[in-house]
Amino acid sequence: MKSLVNYGMSLLKENPVFGLYLGLCSSLAITTNLDNAVGMGISVLLVLTVSNVVISLLRKLTPDEIRIPVYIVVIATLVKAVELLIKAYAPAIDAALGVFIPLIVVNCIILGRAEAFASKNGVVSSALDGLNMGVSYTLSIVALSLIRQLLATGILNMNNPFNDTVIFDITIIPADFTIPMFSSPIGAFLTFALLAAGVAAINNRDQKKVKGA
């Protein structure tokens, strides 16, 4: 239990989205509902883990001067593969996310981890790092989309992207009391700012504790 709490805290502190402001574009743009956030999260998780593994495998072969182009080609190939897979098996996700799937290529989290971690570490730890970062990215955008979807529509629902069946669909806030603004860009920026401030507040409190001890 304690290790779970510790893991949760480390997710908060080293959170790539709210702590380091990486991958901002996609986390603001596609978090209007849960389906999109989960779809995006899993795509990024996949690309991030595999790209970390591949780049870690190539790290001894890659000349230092051209490492960034090499990383980008690896990442772009993987993203294209994921894009084609999504088009084939989950067309609903493809329709909803559209151009944001190819834009995973320029999601700073992926290139950032390639440069900061996978290029210096072994295959197994790079894979774990990719998984870890991917999970915390997914959780962050799911949290964002939960808040935005709940406030904007009052409904929480999820569909199975592979066959369009409803997994769950609960109305929580009656339609008269919803705030549609939260599905617009304004709501995206506001929700993000408040969550980021919350994470900063928790980190500040912990730092004080460390200093006091």
Partner: protein, 191 residues
């Protein structure tokens, strides 16, 4: 002619890339602390987007489509963009070393500026003609520069404003973004 004007205005004001699509947030958060570097960044982005759009457009229709290699679009485009950014970097280092220093790491990072890849991809998916592509790929980065510039002027003031501790830095900047997004929705009826 009217169609081009509509496309131009809507890409700058109504469908502003930053405020409606949230693209290019990283450089906006990173370089917006000083007005002068914001303008320099804007100029570099306009140049890179325009150049790489023309290149990728020609490549796509003259090389990839005839050879039915459309699925290679992403890899081709990102390589063209990376090469172009490298080129701009070298030119800036030579002719405007002060600006080159001020932009620092954010200059090579234009490669991963989502706006660039977005514009090159949308040029294809929206089936723009050559002229439309030219207008669109000038208007979008201009819209980006506009928001970057306004935002940097606000941010210079923000540095000296009393802000709650947890909101210091980026969270308050995002609140400012939210307000700007709200203001820009007023342009919706313009065209």
């Amino acid at each position: 002619m009217e169609g081009f004007f509509t496309l131009f205005i809507s890409a700058i004001l109504i469908n502003n890339i930053v405020l409606t699509k949230f693209l290019g947030m990283c450089p906006i958060m990173g370089v917006s602390r000083k007005t002068s570097s914001a303008l320099g960044m804007g100029a570099a982005v306009v140049f890179v987007i325009f150049g790489s759009s023309v290149f990728t457009y020609v490549l796509y229709y003259n090389v990839l489509v005839p050879m039915s290699l459309e699925y290679m679009d992403l890899i081709t485009f990102i390589l063209v963009i990376a090469a172009f950014v490298q080129f701009v970097e070298m030119v800036m280092k030579k002719f405007t070393p002060a600006l080159y220093k001020a932009l620092g790491i954010f200059l090579p990072l234009i490669t991963t500026n989502c706006v660039v890849l977005y514009v090159t991809l949308v040029n294809i998916t929206n089936g723009y003609s050559f002229m439309e592509m030219v207008v669109y790929s000038i208007a979008v980065p201009l819209g980006f520069t506009l928001v970057l510039y306004i935002f940097s002027t606000i941010r210079e003031r923000l540095d000296s404003a009393p802000v709650p501790k947890a909101f210091e830095g980026n969270p308050i900047a995002l609140i400012v973004m939210a307000i700007m997004a709200a203001i820009f929705t007023a342009f919706a009826g313009l065209v």
